[in-house]
Amino acid sequence: MAYEITDKCVKCTACELVCPNAAISETATVFVIDPGICTECADAYPEAQCSSICPIEGAIVDELGDPINPPGSLTGIISLATA
């Protein structure tokens, strides 16, 4: 059970700062979540911390590849993005 960071990541570091498991680290292009460490914050918080602070829609996905923050959910600009 682990989340994943996509290439939409802008490397703002916010997720790394709030991860309770220190599962997130930086690469040259994006941040990555270590699937061996990530617990999706199951035992620590009601919601995963990384996806609760990430400002970029679609940058964090679950195991099925579904975005935790789908288009429009953070910025409210869904209709414009899909129009």
Binding site: K11, C12, A14, V18, E47, S52, P55, L74, G76, I77
Partner: protein, 490 residues
């Protein structure tokens, strides 16, 4: 007044079309209390007078943010935009310290280092405070300041005090959570993403609490407010009154930037920007007995130089690596330069009185490169300062950025001249005179036709003196007093 001419080791050559700017000094209305004036005497963002002479820089060490604002989109690597939230490279604390020392050596007028983003500095406490800690040791003469959205402010006040930071800017856009809910789509608080009125209420509460705690500890607080027409414009005078009562010493009401190409919510949903006149009206309605800031340039989170100029490109990490710098000598030189500027400013207690007892207010645009002088060609100006002369005195009331200078130099000079000219004239709406060191025949004619009198006769004169003298001439030629209503709207 006489001011030293500071050489910049040749690094400040005529690079491109980017020209600095400046604004007014001593104001007719609401001077700062003497003790505060002394503390901000060399701070270009907090002292209108200082901003003609002293330089500042921001280091972008704080990429993470804990809230979303509808006017913000923190895109990186965009060197062509000048606005908060945008930077070209995020630095580690070590890189930031290196950059500060290099800039402070090359630009001896530098007096202030700020951390302003591109996210929220207090949402990146380790990087922010590590940078402050090292700078207070390695460049003890440079003033440190920080800008924040305020959410983490109460929790950070003790840490801020440790680093000898005596200036903090808090962006407060409203006191009413209903209004806040239209500006902030979410905040990250207590391990959750909160939305709507509840999120706005918590943010506002933390901002107000943080403001009170800073004032209690004697830290100077400036409040920034983004004017968003139709959302918080009616609310700002009340906001201004409350923060003034709580002890903020300066209020900076800035226009929202909502260019759709920036990809912000407000930009994409057609939120309008205020006109220069609307901005000025809101600022006037707040003025009361607190100082209003009129010279803010809404600079990038990695800006370098005098306000209105950005020399960031001269100081990329790559370029800094090739610089050979004698740091102790640079600090000595800086001390000398600062002392000379301050001595000059002290002499410059020029009365702003116009000597006109009866007459309407007149706004004049000024082209300047700094030093409080009319020293820029019309065609080189990327922005104009706007001064108002009236029986109450001469004061800076704002600045107008132009999309492109009339003459960008080289082969582009003269291309699209008409289009550029009409854009500039649009920006100068409300100004009756344009003071510059020189202006060509064609722009002269266009300005005159638009009802703006170009004037190159005061080249190299101190701005306020020149504004005063032009105003006196105008008023002797124009003896008829206008009705009071018209004066107010002028």
């Amino acid at each position: 007044m006489k001011l030293p001419i500071v050489e910049n080791s040749g690094s400040n050559s005529e690079s491109g079309s980017c020209q600095p700017s400046r604004c007014g000094s001593g104001t007719a209305a609401t001077p700062l209390p003497a003790d505060i004036q002394e503390r901000v005497a060399n701070h270009p963002c907090f002292s209108e007078q200082a901003h003609h002479y002293f330089a500042r820089m921001h280091v972008a060490v704080a990429p993470a943010c804990n809230i979303q604002c509808n006017y913000c989109n923190r895109k990186y690597d965009c060197s062509n935009e000048s606005r908060p939230g945008v930077v070209s490279e995020v630095l580690t604390p070590a890189q930031a310290v290196k950059k500060v020392k290099a800039v402070a050596a090359e630009i001896p007028q530098m007096s202030v280092l700020g951390i302003a983003g591109p996210g929220d500095p207090l949402a990146n406490p380790e990087r922010t405070f590590e940078t402050f800690r090292r700078l207070s040791e390695e460049t003890p003469d440079i003033k440190l300041c920080v800008s924040t959205n305020g959410l983490n402010l109460p929790a950070s006040v003790d840490e801020l005090c440790k680093h000898n930071i005596d200036h903090v800017t808090v962006t407060i856009n409203c006191l009413d959570p209903q209004i806040g809910a239209r500006i902030y789509p979410w905040i990250f608080w207590d391990h959750q993403r909160l939305r709507g009125v509840e999120a706005a209420r918590i943010l506002i509460e933390q901002q107000q609490k943080g403001l009170e705690m800073l004032v209690e500890r004697g830290i100077l607080v400036k409040v920034n407010t983004v004017l968003i027409p139709g959302i918080n414009d009616q609310h700002i005078p009340e906001l201004s009154r409350v923060i003034r009562e709580k002890g903020a010493f300066l209020h900076n009401v800035m226009p929202i930037i909502s260019d759709p190409s920036h990809g912000t919510y407000f930009g994409l949903t057609g939120q309008r920007e205020p006109t220069a006149a609307q901005l000025q009206e809101v600022q006037e309605s707040c003025a009361g007995d607190m100082k209003m800031m009129r010279h803010c340039r809404q600079c990038r989170a990695d800006a370098v130089g005098l306000l209105g100029e950005d020399r960031g490109e001269e100081f990329t990490l790559e370029k800094i690596d090739t610089m050979e710098i004698d740091y102790p000598a640079a600090m000595e030189k800086r001390a000398r330069v600062h002392e000379e500027i301050l001595a000059g400013l002290e002499q410059d207690q020029n009365p702003t009185d116009t000597g006109v007892t009866d007459g309407r207010a007149v706004q004049m645009a000024v082209a300047t490169k700094g030093q409080s002088l009319i020293n820029q060609h019309f065609g080189h100006a990327t922005e104009f300062l706007v001064y108002e002369a009236s029986p109450e005195g001469v004061r800076l009331v704002g600045h107008r950025r132009v999309p492109r200078p009339y003459c960008e130099g080289g082969s582009s000079c003269g291309e699209d001249a008409e289009a550029i000219m009409s854009a500039i004239i649009e920006q100068l709406a409300g100004c009756e005179v344009l003071l510059c060191s020189k202006v060509g025949f064609e722009p002269w004619t266009a300005l005159e036709a638009a009802g703006i009198q170009p004037d190159g006769e005061h080249a190299l004169e101190p701005i306020e003196e020149a504004v005063k003298s032009v105003y006196q001439q105008m008023m002797t030629r124009e003896p008829v007093e206008l009705p009071a209503t018209e004066r107010q709207s002028a």
